[in-house]
Symmetry: C2
Subunit: 334 residues, 2 copies
């Protein structure tokens, strides 16, 4: 049985959509057991009795817009998110899932779950849409601005294990996001990362990738520093949003196009689904000593269910232990 | 009369599409006079006699894939691009337009046209599509990796003059591309640029902009370093390309959607046009002592005509002199 701790109060539509996702996941996957942390009274209308569902009442929750999470942590550890994390840390669950604010999860993760001994930083790795519908791992999307090249190599090793063991793709390849495909392109930082990846004993290096291939590239993992990764992620989001808005405007501009849109309803729905991150799940937080999944803040029940599925698959594949073993072997040689 | 020097041999579809664009521009704008530099025999089939058209035969042209432009320049100055630039430098024309390789234009620009005394670097400023169809100036898209914060401020001043005098928008605003909207977000570099923009005596600072608003933001100018700008530009390109491919695949997947696409033909065409950079023109190279416009390498006649129009409008508005005056006043105070 895979045990999962859920922060019931995190997310723009919590607790309703979180509870909804929990119920969907319990019904879909027979080998999971979920403990939800949150305000019992607020959650009750959206949860049903279930033999594999447990509720821990926590009267407090972190505001999605909280700016000073460290201070909150220092003054009140009874928050739903922190209690759920502690539950994982204490060995009662295999994974933590929340749609709460990224910064709160990162801070709580550092204080409570703690970093893996073998990783010096934590990366946020969203799964971004791809033409082949399989998704790609982008990292770091977490806006870290002070990485060293070796940190990126550790992330690449972690992500390669996820692609192979969880997404079940043989021979995962790592592409370095860059402004050109030639070896010596980019900043000093990118050139150093390129060298490390090229000479790495176990990673399969795809080479540099320009983001004009960000939806169509064959590579499985797109690697870059936290500033650039965040910019790529948000530019994809902005361009997709802009295109959708233009398409809607043009459809509404005439009778023919409105009729056309009716005929094309399925195609347009598939377009939306192909580009919809909620189909794939949440972002992985790589670097903590346990599995941490961050669902999108605006998650509905379906999206949150998929984030729980990801946590389950990560636990089933025993990813954390495999990452530790791989990093230990690599760091001993270095 | 505005005089324009055109590199007839630069671009993936040169000289045919370049000549085509030149003829379109001559017919559309009565106050321009164009001198085309290139291989007379190769261009002849695509050019017609015109009283405002002049041809200068140059037997050599730079290969689009040339890696060592500096060496080419040192050994052969008789290239079409370099001759056209020299023509501008010598005062025979007001502006230079080419669809040749960016790096060649940048190198030739530095050696022949030279940098403006008041600007320490050169930026490449593509005009990117926007929801309101007016376009936005993104800079630097030129992949420069060694900017100082003050260089970006100079670019912002140049771009603001272009938006006001050429694009005729009152009160141009400058947004700093960043990973968050709060003042202290980003790298040390971004925080410094933010401070300079905020306290600038003439610029109108919009604040930080996350690229999830890259198609919909109200700001006129999107400012960032050359690495990040290039990444944003290519991520927009990649996402738009990916979405178009998915849409095409979904349309082809069934009879209903194919019928729908027929009804929606106009709407889909408008979608494409809204996102098509060739509607708007080429990229501005900001920092040289004369007007330099870089049309897209894959320009057809229509796109190249629009690049010529841009050069004409820049010259009509006397942009170079206005930028010099503004920078001189600013730098005297500093």
């Amino acid at each position: 049985m895979i045990k999962i701790a859920v922060d019931g109060m995190g997310g723009d539509h919590a607790p309703q959509m979180i509870c909804d996702g929990v119920m969907q996941a319990l019904n879909a996957y027979k080998n999971i057991d979920i403990t939800v942390f949150g305000d019992q009274d607020k959650m009750a209308p959206f949860l049903k009795q279930h033999e594999r569902l447990h509720i821990v009442h926590t009267p407090y929750a972190i505001d999605m817009a909280e700016k000073d999470v460290v201070k909150v942590y220092r003054t009140n550890k009874e928050m739903s998110m922190f209690k759920a994390m502690q539950f994982v840390k204490d060995g009662h669950a295999d994974a933590f899932v929340s749609a709460g604010a990224t910064q709160a999860i990162v801070v709580g993760g550092h204080f409570i779950i703690r970093r893996m001994k073998h990783m010096k930083r934590v990366a946020i790795a969203p799964i971004i849409p791809s033409y082949d519908k399989k998704g790609r791992i982008l990292l770091d999307g977490g806006a870290n601005t002070d990485f060293k090249p070796e940190h990126l190599v550790e992330f690449a090793m972690y992500a390669s294990i996820v692609v192979k063991e969880v997404l079940k793709r043989e021979h995962p390849t790592v592409a370095l996001i860059n402004i050109g495909t030639e070896d010596k392109k980019g900043r000093e930082f990118d050139i150093e990362v390129h060298e490390l990846l090229k000479n790495h004993p176990t990673l399969s290096f795809y080479g540099n990738m320009e983001p004009k291939d960000v939806v169509t590239s064959e590579a499985d993992i797109f690697l870059t520093d936290g500033f650039t990764g965040n910019i790529v992620m948000k530019t994809m989001e902005g361009t997709a949003k802009g295109m959708s808005m233009v398409l809607k405007r043009e459809i509404k501009s005439g009778l023919f196009s409105m009729i056309g849109a009716l005929f094309m309803r399925k195609a347009l729905k598939n377009l939306k689904q192909s580009l919809d991150a909620s189909e794939i799940g949440g972002a992985l937080l790589m670097g903590f000593d346990h599995i941490v999944i961050k669902a999108h803040g605006s998650s509905d029940g379906f999206a949150f269910k998929n984030a729980i599925r990801q946590a389950k698959e990560m636990a089933e594949a025993n990813v954390i232990q495999k990452v530790k073993d791989a990093l230990e072997a690599y760091q001993e040689k270095a």
